[in-house]
Assembly symmetry: C2
Homo-oligomer: 232 residues x 2
């Protein structure tokens, strides 16, 4: 029954929930390639106006979380990346915990984790990690950053880009579309499954893909969201 929880602090600077969300969004937009992130893509990702994103990014700079070149885009600093990875670690541990320990449906854990990731203390986060046996991947196949902020990103390509005959491991899928998650889980398809592209129709047509659980035709939208660690 104490007062409002004050914003967490990193190196003396306030790190509000909004700041964490921006760090996370910038991180995932620049993932892999260290490409600067545009204001408009950031705004779209967060569901805010471009003006808001521009203003917020300007506030992030003196906090030492981003480097910014006006009209050219924004990139996370090391400190910014640490903030993003901490939030992502919380998010993915929570997803795993909610699904495994509490039996929450796979397609709802994302929304719940989205809120809780900003609320749990580092201590609770590590209690959860320990309870889960310090996992390295969440239920969507996404790697979980370590406490000290390192993350093992395996090279993956969208399933949609694979030609017929290619094989690999279904590595991960976006966690943000409940519809898609339900569709996949109903068919017994999960990250870690081995797959082979059996056939590929031209003009962004459906792919026929063989999984352990069977052979399915997958539309272009779905195939772009599913990422594969290709053999060799």
């Amino acid at each position: 029954m104490t007062a409002e929880s004050p914003p967490a602090r990193t190196s003396g600077a306030a790190v509000s929930q909004a700041v964490q969300d921006y760090a996370k969004a910038i991180y995932s937009l620049q993932r892999g390639a260290g490409e600067p992130v545009s204001t408009s893509s950031l705004a779209e990702r967060l569901g805010v106006s471009a003006a808001s994103a521009s203003a917020m990014v300007k506030r992030l700079e003196p906090l030492g979380l981003v480097s910014r070149r006006p009209y050219r885009g924004v990139q996370l600093t090391d400190a910014g990346e640490r903030v993003a990875l901490a939030v992502i670690r919380h998010h993915r541990l929570l997803e795993l915990y909610l699904a495994d320990a509490l039996g929450m449906p796979w397609d709802r854990v994302h929304a719940e984790a989205e809120v809780l990731e900003h609320a749990i203390s580092p201590e609770l986060s590590e209690l959860i990690a320990a309870k889960l046996g310090n996992p390295t991947h969440d239920p969507h196949g996404d790697p979980i950053p370590t406490v000290d902020g390192t993350i093992e990103e395996t090279a993956t390509v969208p399933l949609a880009e694979l030609r017929a005959g290619r094989t690999g491991i279904f590595a991960r899928v976006s966690d943000s579309d409940p519809e898609m998650l339900r569709y996949l889980s109903e068919r017994g398809i999960a990250p870690g499954d081995r797959l082979e592209v059996v056939e590929r129709q031209p003009f962004d047509g459906p792919l026929t893909v063989r999984f352990t659980s069977g052979e399915y035709p997958l539309g272009g939208g779905l195939a772009r969201m599913m990422r594969v660690a290709v053999d060799q």
Copy 2:
């Protein structure tokens, strides 16, 4: 990775975290007696200035959560009480869950629950309740409101008010003082224990109390925070 979580809504009105905190604070200050709550006590409880509390209470009124008589105090409406009880339910379920399922030390669960109570969805709250077997009391002995907003308050008196020779059940203890919680748990004293006041020194002096785990001298501060369901 969606935008900020918007404030939850009840009957069309926004119920922000601050609003929830005020509802909870008013509820516990007027607990038992339906006495109106003064601005200053509310401000002190929440750690804000009296001006802030006054302004906030004025905002609560058009939301239909409180009835207010200027200069005379504030009381929760039925709707306000429902908000408070929902938050309290979340809080106490979380305390129990954090301690039982995750092994978080008893003296830290309060602070964690204080933050999480505003973040968990009703759905997660009920998953947790089910996992715990729909408990009726939290680890501090506080009753847990039901989903539909009823709460069983048993009549208790502060241990400090008992004369020598009185017996009863140690019913509950404030959950907000980690120091005290640690002290009690180190001595194996927990809500539910039977106790007898062996001796009472005058002038707010220490009480000697016999518990199942042994006999202890308890100072006035502690004895005022511990509440007892007295026999008969």
